[in-house]
Symmetry: C2
Subunit: 270 residues, 2 copies
Amino acid sequence: MFVFLNGRFVPEEEATISIHDRGFLYGDGLFETLRVYAGAPFLWEAHIQRFEHGCRLLGIQSPLSGGELRCVLGELLRRNGLREAVVRLTLTRGRGLRGYSPAGANHPTLLIVCYVPRQQPATYRVILSKIRGPEADPLGELKHLNKLHQVLARAEADAHGADEALLLNSCGEVTEGTATNVFCVRGGAVLTPGSRGILPGTTRAHVLRVCQRRGVRALEGAIRAEELFAMDGVFVTSSVAEIKEVSNLDGRALARSPLVHELQGAYRSG
Amino acid sequence: MFVFLNGRFVPEEEATISIHDRGFLYGDGLFETLRVYAGAPFLWEAHIQRFEHGCRLLGIQSPLSGGELRCVLGELLRRNGLREAVVRLTLTRGRGLRGYSPAGANHPTLLIVCYVPRQQPATYRVILSKIRGPEADPLGELKHLNKLHQVLARAEADAHGADEALLLNSCGEVTEGTATNVFCVRGGAVLTPGSRGILPGTTRAHVLRVCQRRGVRALEGAIRAEELFAMDGVFVTSSVAEIKEVSNLDGRALARSPLVHELQGAYRSG
């Protein structure tokens, strides 16, 4: 497999990162994970907009524009002979001096890696994580490289044989999954936690648009964890998971809603 | 310069990290920064205890014990001909599959790098950061690789020509600096923010012990940011900064206390 690293297409096994890269040392960077279907990156514009917004907030200048990234990704897929892929785009502040100051780190590291999509379970088993993410995190809306809470919550899910863990805030409200956003079905409408302080999922926004186009009422608002058990259906969304129904939460079977299947059917056509 | 990477002493320019290393991808790891004086690592036991505590919490097994690390560090210093050094020890969960799950990532990456100590300013100019760190962060006591808040607060200090930025909580109380702990002098006593939710600094603990041995009263408690301007003296501490008096806060000169100089004199002898 080829990857794209700092301006070159290189075989994966030859692609390495400096030990002084600030992504490695401090998580000083951003990433995007997206899906390619039949050679075309899905929701590309939304991913690039979020990426460019993150670049501005962190003060990291991407060496390539959105259009150039799109072009490079096309070539990378071609070289790897992939029409179906999961793609991760990573940008870090590159090498710098020792210490937190980003001064002098002016050569960002840009990496694009393609993965063959893994087989996904048809529905997800999910747990409510005991790990509380940071509250009121000013960086919560950025898809940055500081993902240790997500790693630990996902390890907790693994330990329970689950596919995903949902994070709660200190009020006991659901915020997001480690790698997904959460939706519920109640009385024919779709409900999802408000976007404040959570990562603004590209798939979340897409699903809200799909609901709108299909005349399904979609609301944003607080959802207490225990309310999930009484919903008509629960599902999680991400570029990789797409729309996955939650069949089981903390070991308890959940109700299943035909609306979830309807949204799954409309997912790729919008 | 040689570095120690995954069991081998290698020239720095040949030492690289996998693009799949979870330290790079997710900040999934830990580090320690310490000072070497006359060939001897300072406060070694305290650093290793914190490191081993972090390993247990993250479920990462260090490939080397504390004693082995001490031995490797000695050899690394010898090969580099260094008697005075800043040393960074980094441990990540190593390579894994794509995604947050740490499953299957069983070969941690261990890196030790020595730096020639940089010239430090005699006193520090400091700012109060506008960046609010996450509140009640369950990982706040770990010296992990998720340091983007610190990077951004330090960039804010750089923009003001300052040497350090202090982080406040949502109540307006000082918690810690980006890379330091904070102390004040008031009425002959030393005061520092309580340790809950902040990184337990090895130098902070050492300074508290130095105070105790010298009969200087040392208290832990809340310090509101605006109170700093009325203190008899303010200083920050870290392995690299040692004890640095804050001469200027947000552009205003601070009072200077002879007690700070007394503690600086006692720092290395304890």
